[in-house]
Symmetry: C2
Subunit: 243 residues, 2 copies
Amino acid sequence: MPARKQTKAPPVMAEADIAIVRIAPETSFKNKAYEALKEAILKMDIYATPEQVMLDERALSERLGVSRTPIREAIAMLEQDGFVKTVPRRGIVVVRRTKTEIVDMIRAWAALESMAARLITTTARKKDITALRDFFKDFGKDRLPQDHVEEYSKANIAFHQALISLSESPVLVDMTNDILLHVRGYRQLTIGRKDRTATSLPEHLAIIEALEARDTELAEKRARDHTLGLAAYVEAHGQELFS
Amino acid sequence: MPARKQTKAPPVMAEADIAIVRIAPETSFKNKAYEALKEAILKMDIYATPEQVMLDERALSERLGVSRTPIREAIAMLEQDGFVKTVPRRGIVVVRRTKTEIVDMIRAWAALESMAARLITTTARKKDITALRDFFKDFGKDRLPQDHVEEYSKANIAFHQALISLSESPVLVDMTNDILLHVRGYRQLTIGRKDRTATSLPEHLAIIEALEARDTELAEKRARDHTLGLAAYVEAHGQELFS
DNA sequence: ATCTGATCTCTGGCATACCAAATGCCATAA
DNA sequence: TTATGGCATTTGGTATGCCAGAGATCAGAT
Protein backbone atom coordinates (compact mmCIF):
# COMPACT_ATOMS: atom_id res chain seq x y z
CA MET A 1 0.00 0.00 0.00
CA PRO A 2 1.57 3.25 -1.16
CA ALA A 3 2.19 5.87 1.45
CA ARG A 4 -0.72 8.24 1.53
CA LYS A 5 0.40 11.82 1.46
CA GLN A 6 -0.25 13.48 4.78
CA THR A 7 -3.10 15.90 4.30
CA LYS A 8 -3.70 16.75 7.92
CA ALA A 9 -2.19 19.53 10.04
CA PRO A 10 0.28 21.13 7.66
CA PRO A 11 -0.23 24.67 9.07
CA VAL A 12 3.19 26.17 8.73
CA MET A 13 2.12 29.57 9.95
CA ALA A 14 -0.88 30.72 11.96
CA GLU A 15 -2.79 31.55 8.82
CA ALA A 16 -2.99 35.10 10.12
CA ASP A 17 -6.52 36.04 10.94
CA ILE A 18 -6.40 38.98 8.59
CA ALA A 19 -9.89 39.39 7.30
CA ILE A 20 -9.43 37.68 3.99
CA VAL A 21 -12.77 37.84 2.26
CA ARG A 22 -12.32 35.48 -0.66
CA ILE A 23 -11.58 38.44 -2.98
CA ALA A 24 -14.06 39.90 -5.38
CA PRO A 25 -15.39 37.33 -7.85
CA GLU A 26 -15.79 40.20 -10.30
CA THR A 27 -19.05 39.37 -11.92
CA SER A 28 -18.83 38.57 -15.59
CA PHE A 29 -20.10 40.78 -18.38
CA LYS A 30 -22.80 38.21 -18.88
CA ASN A 31 -24.16 38.80 -15.40
CA LYS A 32 -23.68 42.52 -15.60
CA ALA A 33 -25.59 42.57 -18.85
CA TYR A 34 -28.30 40.41 -17.29
CA GLU A 35 -28.74 42.76 -14.35
CA ALA A 36 -28.64 45.83 -16.52
CA LEU A 37 -31.20 44.54 -18.99
CA LYS A 38 -33.45 43.20 -16.28
CA GLU A 39 -33.50 46.52 -14.51
CA ALA A 40 -34.07 48.37 -17.75
CA ILE A 41 -36.99 46.15 -18.65
CA LEU A 42 -38.56 46.44 -15.22
CA LYS A 43 -38.46 50.19 -15.15
CA MET A 44 -39.59 50.79 -18.70
CA ASP A 45 -43.22 50.39 -17.72
CA ILE A 46 -44.05 47.96 -20.45
CA TYR A 47 -47.79 48.36 -20.11
CA ALA A 48 -47.65 52.06 -20.84
CA THR A 49 -46.24 51.86 -24.34
CA PRO A 50 -48.75 50.99 -27.03
CA GLU A 51 -46.49 49.21 -29.52
CA GLN A 52 -44.36 46.16 -28.90
CA VAL A 53 -41.00 46.85 -27.34
CA MET A 54 -38.15 45.22 -29.18
CA LEU A 55 -34.51 44.80 -28.22
CA ASP A 56 -31.60 44.67 -30.62
CA GLU A 57 -28.55 42.59 -29.77
CA ARG A 58 -26.09 44.76 -31.65
CA ALA A 59 -27.52 47.98 -30.32
CA LEU A 60 -27.36 46.63 -26.78
CA SER A 61 -23.81 45.41 -27.18
CA GLU A 62 -22.81 48.90 -28.28
CA ARG A 63 -24.71 50.59 -25.50
CA LEU A 64 -23.16 48.37 -22.86
CA GLY A 65 -19.77 48.34 -24.48
CA VAL A 66 -19.40 44.59 -24.75
CA SER A 67 -19.66 42.13 -27.59
CA ARG A 68 -22.82 40.34 -28.58
CA THR A 69 -21.79 37.10 -26.90
CA PRO A 70 -22.42 38.07 -23.27
CA ILE A 71 -25.49 39.98 -24.41
CA ARG A 72 -26.94 36.88 -26.00
CA GLU A 73 -26.28 34.85 -22.90
CA ALA A 74 -28.03 37.47 -20.80
CA ILE A 75 -30.96 37.44 -23.22
CA ALA A 76 -31.14 33.67 -22.93
CA MET A 77 -31.38 34.01 -19.16
CA LEU A 78 -34.04 36.69 -19.37
CA GLU A 79 -35.99 34.43 -21.67
CA GLN A 80 -35.89 31.72 -19.01
CA ASP A 81 -37.27 34.26 -16.58
CA GLY A 82 -40.08 34.99 -18.98
CA PHE A 83 -39.21 38.63 -19.45
CA VAL A 84 -38.41 38.43 -23.13
CA LYS A 85 -39.07 36.15 -26.05
CA THR A 86 -36.69 35.93 -28.97
CA VAL A 87 -38.08 35.22 -32.39
CA PRO A 88 -35.49 33.92 -34.86
CA ARG A 89 -34.63 36.37 -37.59
CA ARG A 90 -37.25 38.76 -36.26
CA GLY A 91 -36.08 40.20 -33.02
CA ILE A 92 -36.29 40.07 -29.27
CA VAL A 93 -39.58 41.19 -27.84
CA VAL A 94 -40.25 42.24 -24.28
CA VAL A 95 -43.10 40.06 -23.07
CA ARG A 96 -46.38 41.66 -22.06
CA ARG A 97 -48.55 39.56 -19.83
CA THR A 98 -52.27 39.50 -20.22
CA LYS A 99 -54.61 40.34 -17.39
CA THR A 100 -55.43 36.66 -17.04
CA GLU A 101 -51.78 35.80 -16.63
CA ILE A 102 -51.27 38.48 -14.01
CA VAL A 103 -54.26 37.31 -12.02
CA ASP A 104 -52.90 33.81 -12.28
CA MET A 105 -49.55 34.92 -10.92
CA ILE A 106 -51.16 36.73 -8.03
CA ARG A 107 -53.02 33.57 -7.11
CA ALA A 108 -49.75 31.66 -7.02
CA TRP A 109 -48.36 34.43 -4.89
CA ALA A 110 -51.30 34.01 -2.52
CA ALA A 111 -50.57 30.30 -2.28
CA LEU A 112 -46.92 30.85 -1.44
CA GLU A 113 -47.55 33.62 1.01
CA SER A 114 -50.19 31.70 2.89
CA MET A 115 -47.72 28.85 3.25
CA ALA A 116 -45.14 31.32 4.52
CA ALA A 117 -47.64 32.56 7.09
CA ARG A 118 -48.27 28.98 8.14
CA LEU A 119 -44.59 28.31 8.67
CA ILE A 120 -44.08 31.57 10.50
CA THR A 121 -46.59 30.66 13.17
CA THR A 122 -44.46 27.71 14.14
CA THR A 123 -40.93 29.01 13.78
CA ALA A 124 -40.59 32.80 13.79
CA ARG A 125 -39.67 34.74 16.87
CA LYS A 126 -42.25 36.95 18.47
CA LYS A 127 -40.16 40.08 18.14
CA ASP A 128 -39.62 39.52 14.43
CA ILE A 129 -43.34 39.16 13.85
CA THR A 130 -44.14 42.26 15.84
CA ALA A 131 -41.50 44.16 13.90
CA LEU A 132 -43.68 43.77 10.81
CA ARG A 133 -45.89 46.55 12.17
CA ASP A 134 -43.07 49.01 11.71
CA PHE A 135 -43.63 49.08 7.99
CA PHE A 136 -46.89 50.86 8.66
CA LYS A 137 -45.92 52.99 11.61
CA ASP A 138 -46.19 56.10 9.44
CA PHE A 139 -49.83 55.43 8.74
CA GLY A 140 -52.86 55.65 11.01
CA LYS A 141 -56.11 57.43 11.63
CA ASP A 142 -54.42 60.78 11.20
CA ARG A 143 -52.46 59.78 8.11
CA LEU A 144 -54.48 57.51 5.90
CA PRO A 145 -52.80 55.20 3.39
CA GLN A 146 -55.18 56.30 0.66
CA ASP A 147 -53.84 59.84 0.99
CA HIS A 148 -50.27 58.73 0.41
CA VAL A 149 -50.72 55.98 -2.09
CA GLU A 150 -47.23 56.01 -3.51
CA GLU A 151 -45.59 55.83 -0.12
CA TYR A 152 -47.99 53.21 1.14
CA SER A 153 -47.42 51.15 -1.96
CA LYS A 154 -43.72 50.88 -1.20
CA ALA A 155 -44.40 49.99 2.42
CA ASN A 156 -46.82 47.40 1.18
CA ILE A 157 -44.28 45.62 -0.98
CA ALA A 158 -41.66 45.82 1.73
CA PHE A 159 -44.09 44.30 4.20
CA HIS A 160 -44.92 41.37 1.99
CA GLN A 161 -41.27 40.65 1.28
CA ALA A 162 -40.38 40.86 4.96
CA LEU A 163 -43.28 38.58 5.78
CA ILE A 164 -42.15 35.92 3.35
CA SER A 165 -38.59 36.21 4.59
CA LEU A 166 -39.71 35.36 8.09
CA SER A 167 -40.65 31.92 6.83
CA GLU A 168 -36.93 31.29 6.43
CA SER A 169 -37.73 29.42 3.29
CA PRO A 170 -35.40 30.43 0.45
CA VAL A 171 -37.65 28.76 -2.08
CA LEU A 172 -40.73 30.69 -1.03
CA VAL A 173 -38.71 33.90 -0.97
CA ASP A 174 -37.26 33.40 -4.43
CA MET A 175 -40.49 32.32 -6.03
CA THR A 176 -42.49 35.22 -4.68
CA ASN A 177 -39.76 37.67 -5.61
CA ASP A 178 -39.90 36.41 -9.15
CA ILE A 179 -43.63 36.85 -9.21
CA LEU A 180 -43.42 40.31 -7.72
CA LEU A 181 -41.05 41.38 -10.47
CA HIS A 182 -43.63 40.45 -13.06
CA VAL A 183 -46.55 41.92 -11.15
CA ARG A 184 -44.78 45.07 -10.09
CA GLY A 185 -44.86 46.47 -13.60
CA TYR A 186 -48.43 47.64 -13.42
CA ARG A 187 -48.71 47.47 -9.67
CA GLN A 188 -48.67 51.24 -9.55
CA LEU A 189 -51.77 51.26 -11.65
CA THR A 190 -53.73 48.79 -9.59
CA ILE A 191 -52.66 48.34 -6.01
CA GLY A 192 -52.33 52.07 -5.87
CA ARG A 193 -56.03 52.55 -6.34
CA LYS A 194 -57.50 54.26 -3.35
CA ASP A 195 -60.50 52.04 -2.87
CA ARG A 196 -58.34 49.02 -2.40
CA THR A 197 -55.62 50.76 -0.44
CA ALA A 198 -58.14 51.62 2.24
CA THR A 199 -58.86 48.00 3.05
CA SER A 200 -55.27 46.87 2.73
CA LEU A 201 -53.87 48.17 6.00
CA PRO A 202 -56.45 46.59 8.32
CA GLU A 203 -55.95 43.27 6.57
CA HIS A 204 -52.22 43.45 7.05
CA LEU A 205 -52.62 44.14 10.73
CA ALA A 206 -55.04 41.25 11.01
CA ILE A 207 -52.46 38.95 9.47
CA ILE A 208 -49.85 40.09 11.96
CA GLU A 209 -52.23 39.49 14.81
CA ALA A 210 -52.91 35.95 13.71
CA LEU A 211 -49.19 35.32 13.42
CA GLU A 212 -48.56 36.63 16.91
CA ALA A 213 -51.36 34.45 18.22
CA ARG A 214 -49.60 31.50 16.57
CA ASP A 215 -52.89 30.61 15.00
CA THR A 216 -51.63 28.65 12.01
CA GLU A 217 -54.92 28.12 10.23
CA LEU A 218 -56.13 31.66 10.72
CA ALA A 219 -52.85 33.25 9.67
CA GLU A 220 -52.78 31.11 6.58
CA LYS A 221 -56.35 31.98 5.73
CA ARG A 222 -55.91 35.70 6.25
CA ALA A 223 -52.72 35.84 4.22
CA ARG A 224 -54.34 33.86 1.44
CA ASP A 225 -57.57 35.80 1.37
CA HIS A 226 -55.77 39.11 1.43
CA THR A 227 -53.76 38.37 -1.68
CA LEU A 228 -56.61 36.57 -3.37
CA GLY A 229 -58.50 39.77 -2.80
CA LEU A 230 -55.93 41.58 -4.86
CA ALA A 231 -56.26 38.98 -7.57
CA ALA A 232 -60.02 39.44 -7.62
CA TYR A 233 -59.56 43.17 -7.68
CA VAL A 234 -57.26 43.07 -10.67
CA GLU A 235 -59.54 40.63 -12.40
CA ALA A 236 -62.47 42.96 -11.93
CA HIS A 237 -60.90 46.36 -12.37
CA GLY A 238 -57.75 45.78 -14.34
CA GLN A 239 -59.40 45.47 -17.69
CA GLU A 240 -58.48 48.90 -18.96
CA LEU A 241 -54.81 48.20 -18.40
CA PHE A 242 -54.58 45.63 -21.10
CA SER A 243 -55.76 47.52 -24.15
CA MET B 1 -60.42 61.19 -47.06
CA PRO B 2 -57.88 58.99 -48.81
CA ALA B 3 -59.20 55.86 -50.31
CA ARG B 4 -58.69 53.02 -47.89
CA LYS B 5 -57.09 50.12 -49.57
CA GLN B 6 -59.51 47.30 -49.92
CA THR B 7 -58.39 44.58 -47.60
CA LYS B 8 -61.33 42.32 -48.08
CA ALA B 9 -61.83 39.72 -50.74
CA PRO B 10 -58.74 40.17 -52.88
CA PRO B 11 -58.42 36.45 -53.60
CA VAL B 12 -57.07 36.35 -57.10
CA MET B 13 -56.89 32.61 -57.02
CA ALA B 14 -58.62 30.17 -54.73
CA GLU B 15 -55.59 30.02 -52.42
CA ALA B 16 -55.58 26.33 -53.08
CA ASP B 17 -56.41 24.40 -49.97
CA ILE B 18 -53.20 22.46 -50.19
CA ALA B 19 -52.42 21.40 -46.69
CA ILE B 20 -49.93 24.09 -45.86
CA VAL B 21 -48.83 23.51 -42.32
CA ARG B 22 -46.83 26.59 -41.38
CA ILE B 23 -43.55 24.75 -41.93
CA ALA B 24 -41.30 23.53 -39.16
CA PRO B 25 -39.82 26.27 -36.96
CA GLU B 26 -36.77 24.05 -36.56
CA THR B 27 -35.67 24.77 -33.05
CA SER B 28 -32.23 26.26 -32.72
CA PHE B 29 -29.17 24.36 -31.58
CA LYS B 30 -29.32 26.42 -28.42
CA ASN B 31 -32.70 24.96 -27.53
CA LYS B 32 -31.77 21.48 -28.66
CA ALA B 33 -28.69 21.63 -26.47
CA TYR B 34 -30.80 22.91 -23.58
CA GLU B 35 -33.24 20.05 -23.86
CA ALA B 36 -30.52 17.48 -24.30
CA LEU B 37 -28.50 18.66 -21.34
CA LYS B 38 -31.54 19.01 -19.14
CA GLU B 39 -32.63 15.48 -19.87
CA ALA B 40 -29.13 14.17 -19.32
CA ILE B 41 -28.86 15.91 -15.98
CA LEU B 42 -32.26 14.68 -14.83
CA LYS B 43 -31.58 11.08 -15.62
CA MET B 44 -28.04 10.90 -14.29
CA ASP B 45 -29.28 10.41 -10.75
CA ILE B 46 -27.11 13.07 -9.21
CA TYR B 47 -27.59 11.87 -5.67
CA ALA B 48 -26.16 8.48 -6.42
CA THR B 49 -22.69 9.58 -7.43
CA PRO B 50 -20.35 10.42 -4.57
CA GLU B 51 -18.16 13.04 -6.20
CA GLN B 52 -19.25 16.28 -7.77
CA VAL B 53 -20.44 15.99 -11.35
CA MET B 54 -18.82 18.46 -13.68
CA LEU B 55 -19.62 19.43 -17.23
CA ASP B 56 -17.15 20.60 -19.83
CA GLU B 57 -18.18 23.02 -22.54
CA ARG B 58 -15.77 21.75 -25.15
CA ALA B 59 -16.53 18.13 -24.45
CA LEU B 60 -20.25 18.80 -24.70
CA SER B 61 -19.88 20.73 -27.93
CA GLU B 62 -18.06 17.77 -29.41
CA ARG B 63 -20.58 15.26 -28.10
CA LEU B 64 -23.50 17.23 -29.47
CA GLY B 65 -21.72 18.18 -32.64
CA VAL B 66 -22.18 21.93 -32.32
CA SER B 67 -19.90 24.77 -31.39
CA ARG B 68 -19.45 26.08 -27.88
CA THR B 69 -21.66 29.10 -28.43
CA PRO B 70 -25.05 27.38 -28.34
CA ILE B 71 -23.75 25.16 -25.56
CA ARG B 72 -22.85 28.15 -23.44
CA GLU B 73 -26.27 29.67 -24.00
CA ALA B 74 -27.91 26.43 -22.97
CA ILE B 75 -25.73 26.32 -19.86
CA ALA B 76 -26.77 29.88 -19.02
CA MET B 77 -30.40 28.80 -19.21
CA LEU B 78 -29.83 25.73 -17.07
CA GLU B 79 -28.13 27.93 -14.53
CA GLN B 80 -31.25 30.08 -14.38
CA ASP B 81 -33.22 26.92 -13.72
CA GLY B 82 -30.89 26.10 -10.89
CA PHE B 83 -29.67 22.84 -12.36
CA VAL B 84 -26.05 23.86 -12.76
CA LYS B 85 -23.70 26.45 -11.41
CA THR B 86 -20.76 27.65 -13.43
CA VAL B 87 -17.64 28.66 -11.59
CA PRO B 88 -15.30 30.85 -13.65
CA ARG B 89 -12.08 29.13 -14.67
CA ARG B 90 -13.09 26.09 -12.67
CA GLY B 91 -15.92 24.38 -14.41
CA ILE B 92 -19.63 23.80 -14.55
CA VAL B 93 -20.99 21.82 -11.66
CA VAL B 94 -24.31 20.04 -11.55
CA VAL B 95 -26.08 21.35 -8.47
CA ARG B 96 -26.95 18.98 -5.64
CA ARG B 97 -29.63 20.20 -3.33
CA THR B 98 -29.46 19.59 0.37
CA LYS B 99 -32.18 17.81 2.26
CA THR B 100 -33.30 21.11 3.69
CA GLU B 101 -33.67 22.60 0.22
CA ILE B 102 -35.67 19.66 -0.99
CA VAL B 103 -38.01 19.82 1.98
CA ASP B 104 -38.38 23.50 1.31
CA MET B 105 -39.30 22.85 -2.30
CA ILE B 106 -41.87 20.27 -1.33
CA ARG B 107 -43.50 22.77 1.00
CA ALA B 108 -43.78 25.24 -1.87
CA TRP B 109 -45.25 22.45 -3.93
CA ALA B 110 -47.81 21.84 -1.20
CA ALA B 111 -48.73 25.51 -1.26
CA LEU B 112 -49.23 25.56 -5.01
CA GLU B 113 -51.13 22.30 -5.12
CA SER B 114 -53.50 23.30 -2.38
CA MET B 115 -54.26 26.47 -4.30
CA ALA B 116 -54.88 24.36 -7.38
CA ALA B 117 -57.30 22.21 -5.41
CA ARG B 118 -59.06 25.33 -4.23
CA LEU B 119 -59.50 26.61 -7.77
CA ILE B 120 -60.63 23.23 -9.04
CA THR B 121 -63.58 23.11 -6.65
CA THR B 122 -64.98 26.21 -8.29
CA THR B 123 -64.18 25.71 -11.96
CA ALA B 124 -63.42 22.15 -12.98
CA ARG B 125 -66.01 19.89 -14.53
CA LYS B 126 -67.29 16.96 -12.56
CA LYS B 127 -66.24 14.43 -15.16
CA ASP B 128 -62.67 15.74 -15.21
CA ILE B 129 -62.40 15.47 -11.45
CA THR B 130 -63.77 11.96 -11.43
CA ALA B 131 -61.34 11.01 -14.17
CA LEU B 132 -58.53 11.50 -11.68
CA ARG B 133 -59.45 8.15 -10.17
CA ASP B 134 -58.34 6.44 -13.34
CA PHE B 135 -54.71 6.92 -12.45
CA PHE B 136 -55.21 4.43 -9.65
CA LYS B 137 -57.63 2.03 -11.26
CA ASP B 138 -54.91 -0.62 -11.37
CA PHE B 139 -54.57 -0.58 -7.62
CA GLY B 140 -56.92 -1.77 -4.93
CA LYS B 141 -57.37 -4.27 -2.12
CA ASP B 142 -56.17 -7.06 -4.33
CA ARG B 143 -53.26 -5.14 -5.79
CA LEU B 144 -51.64 -2.97 -3.19
CA PRO B 145 -49.53 0.05 -4.16
CA GLN B 146 -46.76 -0.99 -1.81
CA ASP B 147 -46.33 -4.18 -3.79
CA HIS B 148 -45.78 -2.31 -7.03
CA VAL B 149 -43.90 0.72 -5.85
CA GLU B 150 -42.30 1.63 -9.16
CA GLU B 151 -45.57 1.51 -11.03
CA TYR B 152 -47.45 3.33 -8.30
CA SER B 153 -44.80 6.00 -8.20
CA LYS B 154 -45.38 6.84 -11.85
CA ALA B 155 -49.13 6.92 -11.36
CA ASN B 156 -48.56 9.15 -8.38
CA ILE B 157 -46.64 11.76 -10.34
CA ALA B 158 -49.12 11.60 -13.21
CA PHE B 159 -51.97 12.13 -10.76
CA HIS B 160 -50.42 15.20 -9.22
CA GLN B 161 -49.67 16.72 -12.58
CA ALA B 162 -53.17 16.04 -13.82
CA LEU B 163 -54.59 17.53 -10.65
CA ILE B 164 -52.66 20.75 -11.04
CA SER B 165 -53.61 20.92 -14.70
CA LEU B 166 -57.28 20.88 -13.77
CA SER B 167 -56.80 24.24 -12.12
CA GLU B 168 -56.32 25.64 -15.60
CA SER B 169 -53.65 27.87 -14.18
CA PRO B 170 -50.55 27.89 -16.39
CA VAL B 171 -48.52 29.52 -13.65
CA LEU B 172 -49.33 26.85 -11.08
CA VAL B 173 -48.66 24.15 -13.65
CA ASP B 174 -45.29 25.55 -14.66
CA MET B 175 -44.10 26.25 -11.16
CA THR B 176 -44.98 22.82 -9.86
CA ASN B 177 -43.44 21.17 -12.89
CA ASP B 178 -40.21 23.01 -12.20
CA ILE B 179 -40.28 21.85 -8.62
CA LEU B 180 -41.04 18.29 -9.60
CA LEU B 181 -38.01 18.23 -11.88
CA HIS B 182 -35.80 19.06 -8.93
CA VAL B 183 -37.54 16.74 -6.53
CA ARG B 184 -37.86 13.87 -8.94
CA GLY B 185 -34.15 13.16 -8.79
CA TYR B 186 -34.30 11.27 -5.55
CA ARG B 187 -38.03 10.68 -5.56
CA GLN B 188 -37.43 7.05 -6.30
CA LEU B 189 -35.50 6.78 -3.09
CA THR B 190 -38.09 8.39 -0.88
CA ILE B 191 -41.63 8.39 -2.16
CA GLY B 192 -41.00 4.84 -3.21
CA ARG B 193 -40.66 3.75 0.37
CA LYS B 194 -43.33 1.25 1.22
CA ASP B 195 -44.42 2.68 4.52
CA ARG B 196 -45.38 5.95 2.93
CA THR B 197 -46.79 4.46 -0.23
CA ALA B 198 -49.39 2.65 1.81
CA THR B 199 -50.94 5.86 3.11
CA SER B 200 -50.65 7.72 -0.16
CA LEU B 201 -53.51 6.15 -2.08
CA PRO B 202 -56.24 6.73 0.52
CA GLU B 203 -55.14 10.35 0.82
CA HIS B 204 -55.37 10.82 -2.91
CA LEU B 205 -58.85 9.42 -2.99
CA ALA B 206 -59.86 11.65 -0.12
CA ILE B 207 -58.64 14.67 -2.08
CA ILE B 208 -60.69 13.63 -5.08
CA GLU B 209 -63.76 13.21 -2.90
CA ALA B 210 -63.41 16.69 -1.49
CA LEU B 211 -63.03 18.08 -4.99
CA GLU B 212 -66.16 16.30 -6.17
CA ALA B 213 -68.04 17.61 -3.16
CA ARG B 214 -66.91 21.10 -4.18
CA ASP B 215 -65.72 21.60 -0.64
CA THR B 216 -63.11 24.29 -1.24
CA GLU B 217 -61.67 24.47 2.23
CA LEU B 218 -61.51 20.74 2.72
CA ALA B 219 -60.00 20.04 -0.67
CA GLU B 220 -57.38 22.67 -0.06
CA LYS B 221 -56.58 21.28 3.36
CA ARG B 222 -56.34 17.70 2.20
CA ALA B 223 -54.13 18.57 -0.76
CA ARG B 224 -51.88 20.66 1.43
CA ASP B 225 -51.62 18.16 4.24
CA HIS B 226 -50.93 15.33 1.86
CA THR B 227 -47.92 17.01 0.33
CA LEU B 228 -46.76 18.50 3.62
CA GLY B 229 -46.81 14.92 4.82
CA LEU B 230 -44.30 14.06 2.15
CA ALA B 231 -42.16 17.00 3.22
CA ALA B 232 -42.23 15.82 6.82
CA TYR B 233 -41.41 12.31 5.69
CA VAL B 234 -38.37 13.43 3.72
CA GLU B 235 -37.27 15.63 6.56
CA ALA B 236 -37.44 12.72 8.95
CA HIS B 237 -36.27 9.82 6.82
CA GLY B 238 -34.30 11.35 4.01
CA GLN B 239 -31.16 11.94 5.99
CA GLU B 240 -29.20 9.05 4.57
CA LEU B 241 -29.67 10.32 1.05
CA PHE B 242 -27.54 13.35 1.52
CA SER B 243 -24.21 11.87 2.52
C1' DA C 1 12.86 14.18 1.09
C1' DT C 2 10.53 18.57 1.08
C1' DC C 3 9.52 23.07 -0.19
C1' DT C 4 9.45 26.62 -3.80
C1' DG C 5 8.20 28.50 -7.99
C1' DA C 6 8.34 28.59 -13.02
C1' DT C 7 5.62 26.69 -16.49
C1' DC C 8 2.29 24.03 -18.92
C1' DT C 9 -2.47 22.95 -19.37
C1' DC C 10 -7.27 23.13 -18.77
C1' DT C 11 -11.50 25.90 -18.57
C1' DG C 12 -14.71 29.40 -18.94
C1' DG C 13 -15.21 34.50 -20.76
C1' DC C 14 -15.34 37.42 -24.62
C1' DA C 15 -14.77 39.27 -29.29
C1' DT C 16 -15.30 38.71 -34.15
C1' DA C 17 -16.65 36.95 -38.60
C1' DC C 18 -19.85 34.75 -41.42
C1' DC C 19 -24.38 32.56 -42.44
C1' DA C 20 -29.23 32.45 -43.61
C1' DA C 21 -33.79 33.81 -43.23
C1' DA C 22 -37.26 37.63 -42.93
C1' DT C 23 -38.15 42.32 -44.51
C1' DG C 24 -38.23 46.41 -46.87
C1' DC C 25 -37.10 49.16 -50.68
C1' DC C 26 -37.31 50.00 -55.39
C1' DA C 27 -37.00 49.51 -60.19
C1' DT C 28 -39.93 47.70 -63.63
C1' DA C 29 -43.68 45.81 -66.10
C1' DA C 30 -48.75 45.74 -66.83
C1' DT D 1 -51.07 53.76 -60.51
C1' DT D 2 -50.38 49.22 -58.94
C1' DA D 3 -48.64 44.72 -58.60
C1' DT D 4 -44.33 42.01 -58.82
C1' DG D 5 -39.73 40.23 -58.43
C1' DG D 6 -35.17 40.85 -56.92
C1' DC D 7 -31.61 42.85 -54.28
C1' DA D 8 -29.81 45.21 -50.12
C1' DT D 9 -30.40 45.26 -45.32
C1' DT D 10 -31.44 43.77 -40.83
C1' DT D 11 -31.28 40.38 -37.20
C1' DG D 12 -30.63 36.36 -34.69
C1' DG D 13 -27.73 31.81 -35.02
C1' DT D 14 -23.35 29.55 -35.01
C1' DA D 15 -18.42 28.77 -35.45
C1' DT D 16 -13.71 30.09 -34.14
C1' DG D 17 -9.92 32.07 -32.00
C1' DC D 18 -7.59 34.23 -28.34
C1' DC D 19 -7.27 35.66 -23.46
C1' DA D 20 -6.53 35.17 -18.49
C1' DG D 21 -6.94 32.88 -14.26
C1' DA D 22 -6.67 28.55 -11.47
C1' DG D 23 -4.45 24.11 -11.00
C1' DA D 24 -1.35 20.64 -11.80
C1' DT D 25 3.27 19.30 -12.86
C1' DC D 26 7.92 19.01 -12.40
C1' DA D 27 12.67 20.67 -11.89
C1' DG D 28 15.87 22.70 -8.79
C1' DA D 29 17.44 24.42 -4.37
C1' DT D 30 17.86 23.52 0.53
